[in-house]
Amino acid sequence: MALSFDAAPVPVRDDIRQALPNVWAAIGKPGTWLTAEERVAIAAETRHAYGSDCALCAERKEALSPYAVDGEHDSLGDLPTAWIDIIHRIVSDPGRLMEHWYEQVTTNVLPDTKYVELVGVVVCTVGVDTFCRGIGMDAPDLPTPQAGEPVPETPEHLNRELAWVPTLDPHHDGPLQKEFFPGGPPTAAHIRRALTYVPATARSFWEMANTLYLNGQQMRDFDNEYRAITHAQIELVAGRVSALNQCVY
């Protein structure tokens, strides 16, 4: 059954009611580099990793270095073992992901294109599930994978120095730049660039993010409040979650 907030225990804002079901359904469609089956399996493993008592994840979280601990994850087993490790690391200990790990993964496990798309599916799953859990709703059923092949797309004008992953270079005048950085380079915050190597992945993530948070103009407009909670309350929650996730960005 598709994600719906019709029976949600609290009123859900109209933009969230529209966006999150779109984002969730998109996981079940063929992606840019990943098949629909792979995407749904990634979502399933993400959910499993988040809610399980994976002993390997727990041991790594306690270890001085998560890279010094080997073993097998408590997994659903529907993906290659190395993909499962990527998902579990992103879910359980994201703050200690390292560039050398990323380089090893994209050299030996899957290309950077599929890695970025995998990250997109993981984070959209985390976002949707956390929201549902937060308002007291059961997690939505996983989408049914739809038939079809991935539709590859590699953007022109990539920057390969900013981050571990290639990102769209905001200093070119192209349709993707207009879409993701509508105000030009000054609006190209690094987080806005992070998933742009796979435009459809970035598109889906920002469809979710722009409704859960505030858009750029609203975020900076401290003279007006756009939510049932204030800017200060928003940033308090945001800061606390980020601190718990050990996200230094």
């Binding site: 609290v10 009123p11 859900v12 804002r13 969230i16 809610g51 992103i90 879910v91 994201p94 703050g95 992901l97 390292m98 560039e99 990323y102 990250v119 993981v122 984070v123 959209c124 985390v126 976002g127 949707v128 956390t130 929201f131 859990r133 937060g134 308002i135 007291g136 900013l162 981050a163 571990w164 992953v165 990102t167 915050a189 690094h190 987080i191 660039r193 992070a194 998933l195 993530f205 979710m208 993010a209 409704t211 859960l212 948070y213 939510r227 049932a228 909670i229 309350q233 928003i234 308090l236 929650v237 945001a238 606390r240 979650v241 718990l244 996730n245 050990q246 996200c247 230094v248 960005y249």
Partner: protein
């Protein structure tokens, strides 16, 4: 704060209690918006950490003193890799 912690955790009882408190204090619309923020940052933190995007220079500059005072730089990737450099 308790809701933020509970929303990203797995303790159902703690979340139920925190949710009830949020509804009492902020109303059902407040719960929706608070859950939305917790959800987004639970996701977007992982975007940042998985892709290796650095902090923007202007943000680093604005927060330099605060980060030094709080010792936050030691948690940056360069600090953790033992290079002794401040997180960018």
């Amino acid at each position: 704060m308790a809701f933020a912690e509970a929303a990203i955790g797995t303790d159902t009882a703690a979340l139920d209690a925190a949710r009830a408190r949020v509804v009492e204090e902020l109303g059902p619309e407040g719960l929706c918006d608070t859950a939305a923020i917790a959800a987004l940052f639970n996701a977007i933190d992982r975007v940042a950490d998985s892709t290796g995007i650095p902090l923007e220079e202007e943000k680093a500059s604005l927060t330099e003193t605060m980060r030094e005072q709080l010792g936050i730089n030691s948690f940056g990737r360069h600090g953790m890799e033992g290079m002794g450099q401040a997180a960018e």
